[in-house]
Structure formats: C-alpha cells, structure tokens
C-alpha cells in the first residue's frame, strides 16, 4: 500500500551522491595568508617574476578592500587566516601520459563519471580535470594543437604561453575588481586556459571538471578563454565537491575574450555540496565571471544551472564593446533547505547596435532564498541597443523566498530595454493532475520544474541538459508532499 510513500522517503533521504573523499597525501601550505604564502605558491608553480608581482599587487589591493555586504545572503564572518590556500596532490614527476596518473585519482573521476580516456574523443569532449589545485591530465591536447587550439591547465599556459597569458590575464576582470576577484588574483592555484586562434572553430566541446577535495581548502581557480577573430568555442564547466560539515570557500575568476566575429558559449552545471538539511556545511561559491565582446559582431553566451553550494554569489556578465556584439545569459538557480543564492548578470552596452538577452529562472524550496540581481546598462554611445530580460521565480512550499533586483540604466534615446518578471507557486492542481495520470509526487514536481526551466535547458549542450535535469531532481528531493 505505502510502497510509494516509502520510495519517496528513501529518495528524499538519499545522500549527496558525490560525498566521497579521496585519500591522497597532499602537498599543502599551512593555513593562513601572507606574502610568503603567495611567494610559495608562485615558486611552487615556477612562475615568472611578473606574475608574482601581479599576485602581490592583487594581495595588497585585497588587504585594503572590504568583503561585500550588499548581497541578499547571510553567513558568519569568514576567517581568511583559517583557509589553506594551496594543496596539490603529491606526485613524483611531471606526468607524460594518462597512465601515469595516480589510480586513486582516476577512480575518483570515474565515480564522478568523467572518463578521462580515449572514449572521450568519441564523445567529442576534451577534459581538463582540475583536482584541488593542480590540473592532473589534459586529454586531446595534441589533437587540438593541430588546429592551433591551446587547451591546457593555467599553470602550463603560464609556462608555455606566457605572452598570451600576460596579454589577457586581468584584461576582463582586473585584479582589484572586487574583493573575491582580488583574493583569487593573489592566490589562484590553477585552472584552465583556452585559446582559439583566428578563424578556427573548435570541433568539440571543451570541458573542465573541478573538484574540491582536501578539507579546509579553498579553491581559487582561474579560467581564461580567448577566441580570436572569427573563432568559435563551446566550453562546459561542471563542479562537485565532497560532503563536509564545515564551509569551504570557492572564489574563482573566469575571463572570456571574444575578438571580431568570435563566439564563445560557456555552460556551467554547478553542483557543489549545498550543506545538509539543517544548513550545516556546504560551499560558499563566490565567483566572478565576465566576458568581453571586444570585437565587432562578437557573441558571448553564458548558460548556468546552479543547484549546489550553500551560498552562491555570482553574476556572469558581458561587456558589449564591439559594435553589433551580442551577450546572453540563461540561468537556472535552485535553492533548497537552507541554501541561498544571489545571482544574476550584468550586461554593459558600450558599442552601437549591441544586443543582450537575459532569461533567469529561480526555483526556491525548503527555507531557500533566491535572489536575482541584474544590471542592464546602456552607455551614451551604445545607440540602437536592445535588451530583453525575463526573470521568473517558482516557489515550492511556503518557507522559501524569491527576490528580484533588476537595475536598468539607459543613457541614450535610441536604445530599448524590456523587463518581464513572474512569480508563481507550484500548484496543488498541477501536482494532482500529474498524480491522476500515474506519476509520483516527486516525478510530478520534477516535471513541472523542468518545464519551467525549459528555455534555459534548450541552451545547454545535449549531455549537459540531461545531467541538469537529473540534478534538479536530486536537489529538490522531498521538497513537496
């Protein structure tokens, strides 16, 4: 009789699936931050002098800055001196081949469902796997290199392509941009670098999986993607972290640069550990992501599905500098239990005839608090520019909240900005209708929520869309009925 109810309970009690810990000896700094730690990180990575200087300058900026208090989120003060800023899996020598990778690490990736091997080539995905702070192995690099595409870890890029890194690093998100970006600029340990030369269309989706493993480790990765004139690339980023009862800080910086006629599509499925049902533990995801449409007719598109993290604070933005450039932001943000999200975008129209589209879907369940915060800015010279924004919120239950903070500033007379917003509650009628057709409450909620997010899922690459739908289901378990 009650097998159904039992199944729901079991489903709801299912634990965070990726909450395993890999037992590998780490090569870490002691907790805390000072100039010596930064010198240590830089030396460890055999960085050139200019980069060390850049880090130190960022650090000195950071010391003078204050942690932002304007987001609509609440958390106890972060003790920045209690964080370990560098942790690398220990290894003997530089890895030449994937077979040299620590088998324990490879098993971790397998649990995460990321096969690093050749099958990936067939699947059309090249993976740059970041484990804690060091990139472990980069596949298909050679195949990509034949096309002139550089896809490697950030540290390797610093060593092998210092001029490119120096040219573009901090060119979109300056080191003193904001508190967390400054911190990242001082201590970033690794990340991904991607360069698509003039006229090249990257033939596969590029993908990076990040994973925070060591306890008390902050992860500060840095991603830099440059698409030269006429180049095109689609980049996927997926994240999970093991379960811990302490909070962990994740302060990443992502910079995208699109030159004339270039296109960059950046998709994220973020599933960092959200904390338990009482709100203990979980990742603080304080991330700065920004793209620069530097050239004419360029296009940058952000798609994000955020189901994880205790707190999410991020605003993937686009600077529309080149005439006729296009910026897009498609977002699904889910909060359940005690999760908090303050997320949205900034579209800064600088060039003429620039266009931007914002589609934001916020889903709140449990005691979750979800805020959309967006700024659409049209400068004086951005004549004939257009923006369309749509912010929809869906509430599950009566203890959660949805908030919308749209800011629109238009400084010329020929541009147009449209904003639409809706808030709806998942209807008892909808759930009953689904149940009357034989679906369980959980399936009904999943289906209704997925329908609500459809416009955003459409923007995701196929395999990511499937993963995103599953994630939504997992993160909303037990939130209704």
């Amino acid at each position: 009789m009650n097998t159904e109810t039992n199944a729901i309970e079991q489903f709801a009690d299912q634990e965070y699936k990726y909450g395993f810990v890999t037992d590998i000896e780490a090569d870490s700094t002691p907790a805390g931050l000072n100039e010596n730690i930064i010198r240590f990180i830089s030396a460890k990575k055999q960085e050139p002098e200019w980069l060390l200087e850049w880090r130190l300058k960022s650090y000195r900026h950071w010391l003078k800055m204050e942690e932002p208090r304007w987001p609509n989120v609440k958390y106890p003060p972060i003790d920045y001196q209690a964080i370990v800023y560098y942790s690398a899996p220990k290894r003997k020598t530089e890895l030449k081949d994937i077979s040299e990778v620590d088998p324990e690490l490879l098993r971790t990736y397998e649990k995460l469902g990321i096969p690093l091997r050749e099958q990936e080539w067939l699947a059309g995905v090249a993976v740059d796997a970041v484990f804690d702070s060091v990139s472990v192995a980069t596949t298909f690099k050679e195949k990509l290199r034949e096309l002139g595409i550089i896809f490697c870890s950030f540290s390797e890029a610093v060593r092998e392509h210092p001029d490119l890194v120096r040219k573009y690093l901090g060119s979109v998100v300056p080191a003193n941009d904001n508190y967390f970006a400054a911190l990242n600029s001082a201590v970033f340990s690794d990340g991904s670098f991607c360069f698509i030369p003039k006229g090249v269309r990257c033939p596969m989706e590029l993908s990076t999986y990040f994973r925070i493993n060591a306890a008390d480790t902050g992860q500060f990765e840095r991603t830099l993607i440059v698409a030269e004139e006429g180049a095109q690339v689609s980049y996927l980023e997926g994240c999970t972290a093991p379960m811990r009862d302490k909070n962990q800080l994740h302060a990443a910086v992502v910079e995208l640069v699109a030159l004339d006629n270039a296109r960059i599509k950046y998709s994220t499925v973020q599933n960092w550990y959200p904390g338990d049902k009482e709100g203990r533990g979980g990742i603080y995801n304080f991330v700065t992501k920004r793209g620069k449409c530097a050239g004419v007719n360029s296009k940058i598109s952000w798609t994000q599905v955020e189901t994880g993290s205790a707190i999410t604070w991020k605003y993937p933005s686009v600077l529309l500098i080149g005439d006729n450039s296009v910026g897009e932001f498609y977002s699904v943000a889910v909060v359940n239990n005690y999760q908090q999200a303050d997320t949205g975008t900034k579209m800064t129209h600088i060039g003429k005839n620039t266009k931007s589209t914002i589609v934001s879907k916020g889903i709140s369940a449990g005691h979750g608090q979800n805020s959309y915060r967006g700024l659409v800015e049209m400068k004086k010279n951005a004549t004939n520019s257009r923006n369309y924004s749509q912010c929809d919120s869906l509430l599950l239950g009566d203890k959660c909240g949805a908030h919308t903070f749209p800011y629109i500033e238009v400084k010329n007379t020929s541009s147009k900005a449209e904003h639409e917003a809706t808030t709806s509650k998942i209807g008892e009628d909808q759930i009953f209708y689904c149940k009357q057709r034989g679906l369980s409450t959980e399936d009904a909620v999943n289906m209704i929520v997925n329908g609500f997010c459809r416009e955003v899922f459409h923007e995701l690459p196929m395999e990511f869309a499937v993963e995103a739908q599953k994630l939504l289901g997992v993160s909303l378990e037990g939130s209704v009925g």
């Binding site: 009628d429 909808q430 689904c434 034989g438 679906l439 399936d443 997925n450 459809r454 416009e455």
Partner: protein, 254 residues
C-alpha cells in the same frame, strides 16, 4: 465482483458535508451517467473517487476491484486503471504533451510489471491514438494544455484516456464548454474506447452528451444523494421535465 462499489459515501469539503450517503455499483463493460443540477455534488463524487485531498470522506466505503480505494494514493488509483477526465484540465507550461504521456504510461506499465515502452514504440502508439480521437499530431509536441482552447483541452483529456487505457474512466463535465462539433468528436472518441474490458462514469449536467454516448444506467444526483436511477430513458425524461420533477417526486415519495 463489481469494478466499483460505492457504499454509503459521505464526504465534506471545508467542513461542509456535500455527499450524504452515495450508493453506486459499476460493473465492467457498463456506462453510467450521473446527472444532476449545479451544486448537487457530482464533481465532488468524481474528486473523491480520484483522490483529491480537499475532499474528506467522513463515512462509507469504496471498493475498487475489491480493494479499498480510499486507502490508495491518487497515483496508485491511476496506476490501477482509474482515470479522471478533468472538468478543468490543468496547464503544465514547458512540459511536452507526449513526454508527459510517456512518463504517465510508463509509470502505469511499471506498476503492472510490464516493460517500459521505448521512444519508438511509444511514438507509434501515440500516432495510432491520435487517429482514434481525431487529434492533430501537432498537439503532441505542445506543452500540456498550455494555450489550448477549451475544446482542445477536453479532447486532450480523451486522448490521454486513449493512451493510458484505463479500466474505469470518470468523465467530469466533459461536455461543458464544447460546441456541437467538438462534442461529437469527443463523444466519438469515448465511444471508440468503450469496450467489454472497461467501464465509464459520465458526470454531466445536460442530457445532450448522452445522445452521443448512450449510457446503460442513469443516476440522478440531487443535494448529495442519488434520488433516482434508471435506464437511458431517464435522461430523456429528465431533459423534458427538468430536475424539479425529480425533486418533487422525491418529496412525494418521502
């Protein structure tokens, strides 16, 4: 064993008793019409049978295939073959009609211990069923009921019924809001689905639907109680004389 046995059913909404002791037996292969004026409790009866939470059963029993129906969750009732065609079908934005039906059908099949249908088999089944209820295939890829006209929604309900092949279908005011052409199409669909293997309860205010779907039995529900039962002729008499006739007759009988 009867398919459905309703015994002395009392039900309340927000503390007000709406049904005051319904008795009804439906056997497999039969079509029953439940007629009654507005507010007589017809939709409440349909809702109680489907398991709407707002309706509280205070007394009585309902056996479905010999099992206690009132103990089952709504989805379990559905999986056991009980289908409600809604008076007001609900919109589910962004959820593709055929995707929805596939999930529903597979939930039912799984419950029966049958293998789930794959995409290809399901699609051919769908196409076959669209012909049965004369529905345009474009409805398959539209979100469930979203932007459908009143008539399209009702037709979609019958389409769901065709795909899910229930044992007991309850059509709640399926004729309301339909013009004469839509009424004909919907009725034809229901008639095609009618068989020795299933049963139907038609809940309606007007007799006109029963011109197209001819019932085996007609029950008249007034003020939460079935005051008169008979064959299909009862519906015609009711149409001629109105519900007051039954009311008066009941009063005289008392």
């Amino acid at each position: 064993m009867s398919l459905l046995e309703v015994k002395n059913l009392h039900a309340s909404v927000n503390g007000n008793e709406i049904l005051h002791g319904i008795n009804l037996t439906v056997n497999i292969g039969e079509v029953h019409a439940i007629m009654g004026p507005n507010g007589s409790g017809k939709s409440t009866l349909a809702g109680v049978l489907a398991g709407r939470e707002a309706y509280i059963v205070t007394e009585g029993q309902v056996l479905y295939q010999g099992k206690d129906l009132l103990e089952m969750d709504p989805e379990e009732r559905a999986r056991e073959g009980l289908f409600l065609a809604f008076q007001y079908p609900v919109e589910i934005p962004g959820v593709n009609n055929s995707y929805f039906l596939k999930a529903a059908l597979n939930a039912i099949r799984k419950h029966k211990g049958l293998e789930e249908l794959d995409a290809i088999d399901f699609l051919s089944l769908l196409k076959q069923k669209t012909k049965l209820v004369d529905m345009n295939e474009s409805f398959l890829n539209r979100p469930v009921n979203e932007g459908f006209s009143g008539g399209e929604k009702k037709r979609n309900e019958i389409f769901h019924m065709a795909v899910l092949e229930p044992k007991l279908s309850i059509l709640d005011e399926t004729d309301s809001g339909l013009d004469i052409d839509a009424l004909k199409t919907v009725s034809e669909g229901v008639n095609k689905l009618r068989s020795k293997e299933n049963a139907t309860i038609i809940v309606t205010h007007y007799q006109r639907l029963l011109n197209y779907i001819v019932p085996d039995f007609v029950h008249v529900l007034v003020d939460g109680i079935i005051v008169k039962s008979g064959g299909k002729d009862l519906a015609i008499k009711l149409e001629e004389l109105g519900y007051d006739w039954v009311r008066e007759e009941t009063v005289h009988a008392v």
